[in-house]
């Protein structure tokens, strides 16, 4: 039995796209040569620059131009899709100058040495507000990819996602959701995931309902000289290893800088994250996010959640209404310990741990935080410090450094020892355990600077929700479980968290055989000497 067919008559794709494709595939047009351009300068020495971006990047004359004659408001989706399909190695692809509409996700696979540039962060704007796709750009696989001198507006989902790339560099690039911070403002802005050698610099992320700048499950990361404004999370490093985050500004977000280890991910845990010489201020936006990031208390300068081996130093953490820095185990998010084996057993086997160890806060300048603490996650703690239900017996300014302490206490009492049986051999070998904390596991804060104006110096406090020493437990419930003690004391000349930890090693990014970060191009950078 034959079915009858009706065919819809529609226009052919444009002759232009067909022609471009064939030229690209045949590779015989003589123009797709390897120009050897690196991230810093175009190498087309034989040809004079076609243009120079506002950041000073010279575009060589033999670059691949996408819709060079497009006028403001034109839809350049098709030209962009075609130009970025089946690229030659080391291609340099140039977006036109102006503000253009893109109506589909732009996907780039296994690009090697690609540079995708506009004419400047303000000069080339791609508007995805009418896109039928999800992410604005998605780079999957590939190596040595640079995105620069452009802005992506109103992506339906993520702004610029790069997954499983070895060498991803984004610079002078913006992801923006204009207007108020709203729940439907896409997802992540700049979003390297599962990548190696990640360099994010000189970017601007505004308005994301999740993290403006997010690095997930990646290794060897430098995030520097970026501004993240009015996102739910400004800058977030999640389940990532060997990351340096420095010289950034996080302002007007719900949480300024987050370091998270979340359960259940393929890369089970991160570590060796250094956060230094950043300015995280006035991160007081209402949290419109969902999922775990939706739990971040508005007014948080920095939040370190269940990530061990974090060093945070010489940052300015000011004017955050809840706290300058919260350091917490995952038990604050989920205290149903009895169900941890059922719910997290597999990821705990891979080395994720709800506890937090070896966090070292030093030489941070802390001022004017905690005047209006918020957030459902912290509400009982906020209520306790704001009433006489804390260790001082009278209402206190909310701690500028807040440590939950419960994971450490339960490790020290041996109550988590049963979890040791869950830890797989690789994670064990990497030091993951639930033994009592040793000296190297301590959470330490010292030499932080109280920059409050007089007479409010005494309002910069360090708080411990639970004491870390079982001997200090004085309040238990009917079943002998410790109750929150809400310890609080001044941050300077502190009694709590008074210890030192060794410094962490700097992150090294190798991008196109150049070394970036404090051991590379920033060797002489002041922040790297701190």
């Amino acid at each position: 039995m034959r079915q009858s067919h009706t065919f819809k008559k529609l226009l052919l794709i444009t002759a232009m796209s067909g022609g471009l494709l064939l030229a690209g595939c045949d590779g015989d047009d003589g123009k797709d040569g390897k120009d050897g351009a690196d991230g810093q300068s175009a190498g087309g020495e034989a040809s004079s620059p076609l243009a120079v971006t506002t950041s000073g990047f010279a575009i060589p004359g033999d670059a691949i131009l996408v819709a060079p004659d497009a006028a403001d408001g034109d839809d350049i989706t098709e030209a962009l899709s075609v130009a970025l399909f089946d690229l030659p190695e080391d291609a340099l692809v140039v977006l036109p100058k102006g503000r253009f509409v893109v109506t589909e996700s732009i996907v780039v696979n296994s690009a090697s040495g690609l540079t995708l540039t506009g004419h400047g962060i303000h000069e080339t704007v791609l508007d995805f507000s009418t896109s039928n796709g999800d992410d604005a750009f998605r780079f999957q696989g590939g190596n040595g990819i640079t995105v620069r001198d452009m802005a992506v507006y109103e992506a339906p989902k993520n702004g610029i996602k790069a997954t499983n790339v070895n060498g991803i560099h984004m610079t002078y690039t913006a992801t923006v959701w204009e207007g108020e911070l709203e729940a439907n403002n896409g997802a992540y802005g700049l979003y390297p995931l599962k990548s190696q050698n990640v360099l994010l610099e000189n970017n601007y992320a505004f308005g994301s309902a999740d993290a403006g700048i997010y690095v997930g499950q990646s290794e060897n990361i430098v995030v520097r000289n970026n501004t993240a404004k009015q996102n739910v999370a400004g800058i977030e490093i999640e389940n990532s290893t060997m990351a340096d985050v420095y010289n950034n500004i996080a302002v007007g977000n719900s949480g300024g800088i987050l370091v998270f280890d979340l359960p259940g991910l393929d890369k089970a845990y991160g570590g060796n994250v250094r956060i230094f010489n950043n300015h995280a201020y006035s991160n007081n936006a209402a949290n419109v996010g969902a999922g775990v990031v939706g739990l971040v208390p508005p007014g948080t300068g920095a939040l370190i959640l269940a990530t061990s081996d974090v060093e945070m130093y010489n940052n300015q953490l000011t004017d955050n209404a809840t706290t300058a820095v919260a350091i917490t185990s995952y038990l604050l998010v989920d205290d149903d310990l009895a169900n941890y084996p059922a719910n997290y057993g597999a990821t705990m086997g891979d080395g994720w741990s709800p506890t937090i160890k070896n966090v070292y806060l030093h030489n941070n300048t802390i001022a004017r935080n905690g005047d209006d603490p918020q957030g459902a996650l912290l509400q009982p703690i906020i209520d306790g410090y704001g009433s006489n239900m804390n260790s001082k017996g009278s209402p206190q300014t909310f701690p500028a450094i807040l440590y939950d302490g419960i994971g450490e206490l339960l490790s020290n009492t041996g109550d988590l020892a049963g979890f040791n049986a869950l830890v797989g051999p690789d994670a064990q070998a990497d030091g993951v355990n639930y033994d009592p904390y040793g000296a190297g596991d301590q959470i330490c804060a010292n030499s932080n600077i109280n920059a409050n104006p007089a007479p409010a110096y005494d309002e910069v406090n360090t708080g411990l929700v639970y004491p870390d020493d079982p001997a200090d437990v004085t309040q238990v419930d009917g079943e002998g479980n410790p109750l929150p003690h809400l310890l609080i004391d001044q941050m300077v000349n502190n009694t709590y968290l008074s210890c030192l930890q060794p410094r962490l090693a700097p992150a090294v990014v190798n991008f196109r055989n150049n070394i970036y970060g404090c051991t590379g191009d920033d060797l002489a950078e002041a922040a790297c000497a701190l």
């Binding site: 067919h5 819809k8 794709i13 796209s17 067909g18 979340l262």
Partner: protein, 424 residues
């Protein structure tokens, strides 16, 4: 008009017995029988020379397939009637279908595999079969006027090619821009206001997106877990559907033969290595829009839901298990892994049970999967919504698969209760 299937099976069995005893050659006097002569006998094969889209070949234009990106589907000479990609493959082409298929906006899919003459497909227990270099798979998408009458009127929209070249698989999308031919659509194509009547008699209207060429890789690749700063491995492009477990079902061939596809291929000398103990071959449950979910037993429901999640989600949501060492699906970094072979009891969290959404989330959906409460399960929301911020799968779906969503809803609601489940 349908053929008498029982008679055909009897004839087929007889001819196979003869083939087995006679030891090959043209032992069969039934020209339509798979036995005796290889299914791809006379199909030709790539010569190794650079092809031409203009070549006037008698059969498949293998050389063009191997080296050229042709502007028209007809250039490849894959169908005897170039205007009809739903039937009549050029010599050597074999039709097939899958027990449970990816949902693609209610389209009917016509699949053919072309294997070069003299080559065979290697059996693989759990991954896609090992198709030799030169293999071409065609998949044509047609939207039926009524999903309850898929033999009736339909709109042929696009034909996608998967081509196994010497440097790996690649994909090309062709859009049926006219009655007579399909044209290359590197940038995809969006069709608006298509409609169909579903099995419940409702008229559905939606846009349909022919994917961009670059989109193919989003689903069809496995990606390396980069193990260090010097790891330069690249993603690997692979077919998804033609796995033993989805082919392990009966198919009605054009001559009326009804036969298990794997055995048909094996006996037709197209497939090598099929285990002698055929019962050991994986077999995914059948699910389609005719399946009555309400009448399924718990184990049938589980089997069908697992097959549905596997074919709709696990091309991306997969890690470890039967993958090559060091590779994962494109969403292998996600916490949710939904492969057919993953044992639920080992880690319900891998199926999203009581798992906080990480890259995403929405108010009102606290966990990905809440056993006993599909209504508040984010996974359920994601497979039902068409909001591109949340929808899953990300590609190839513009409308909501009511039948599939009901299957998953029922599955979530009958899962063993967990700590995040509503208190009974």
């Amino acid at each position: 008009m349908r053929n008498n299937k029982n008679a055909m099976i009897a004839a087929l069995m007889a001819s196979m017995l003869m083939a087995a005893c006679g030891g090959g050659g043209s032992s069969s006097d039934d020209g339509d029988s798979p036995a005796g002569t290889a299914l791809n006998a006379g199909a030709g094969a790539p010569s190794g020379a650079k092809g031409s889209c203009d070549a006037q070949t008698r059969g498949v234009n293998w050389d063009a397939l191997m080296t050229e990106v042709c502007p028209n589907l007809s250039d490849y000479k894959l169908f005897t009637d170039a205007s009809d990609p739903t039937a009549g493959p050029t010599r050597g082409g074999v039709p097939y279908d899958l027990s449970t298929a990816l949902f693609s906006d209610y389209t009917t899919k016509y699949r053919f595999v072309f294997v070069p003459e003299g080559k065979t497909v290697g059996f693989n227990e759990s991954e896609a079969l090992d198709f030799p270099v030169g293999t071409v798979i065609t998949k044509t998408f047609a939207l039926p006027a009524n999903t309850a009458m898929r033999d009736g009127d339909e709109l042929v929209i696009e034909t996608r090619l998967l081509i196994h070249r010497t440097d790996g698989w690649m994909a090309l999308p062709y859009y049926w821009s006219s009655e007579t031919d399909a044209t290359l659509a590197i940038a995809g194509k969006r069709l608006t206001d298509l409609s169909t009547i579903n099995n419940q008699g409702q008229t559905l209207t939606f846009d349909y997106a022919v994917p961009k060429a670059a989109d193919c890789t989003s689903c069809h690749s496995i990606v390396p877990n980069l193990t260090g700063p010097d790891d330069q491995r690249e993603q690997i492009f692979l077919p998804i559907g033609p796995k033993a477990r989805y082919l392990n079902k009966d198919f009605t061939y054009p001559d009326g033969t009804v036969y298990n596809q794997l055995q048909y291929w094996a006996e037709g000398e197209l497939l090598s290595g099929l285990p002698a103990d055929f019962n050991s071959v994986e077999k995914a449950a059948v699910f389609n829009d005719e399946t009555n979910v309400a009448s399924l037993s718990d184990s049938e429901l589980n089997d069908k839901a697992r097959a549905y999640l596997d074919i709709n989600c696990a091309h991306c949501h997969r890690a470890d298990l039967t993958l090559p060492e060091g590779y994962a699906g494109a969403a292998g970094s996600s916490g949710v892994q939904l492969e057919y072979n993953r044992r639920y009891a080992d880690a319900p969290g891998k199926f999203g049970v009581c798992k906080d959404p990480v890259a995403g989330g929405k108010d009102g959906y606290p966990y990905d999967v809440i056993p006993g409460n599909a209504d508040e399960s984010y996974l359920q929301f994601r497979i039902e919504t068409t909001d591109s911020r949340h929808k899953m799968p990300e590609l190839g779906r513009s409308t909501f698969h009511q039948e599939g969503a009901l299957l998953i809803r029922s599955w979530i609601n009958q899962l063993p209760l967990a700590s995040c489940s509503p208190v009974p």
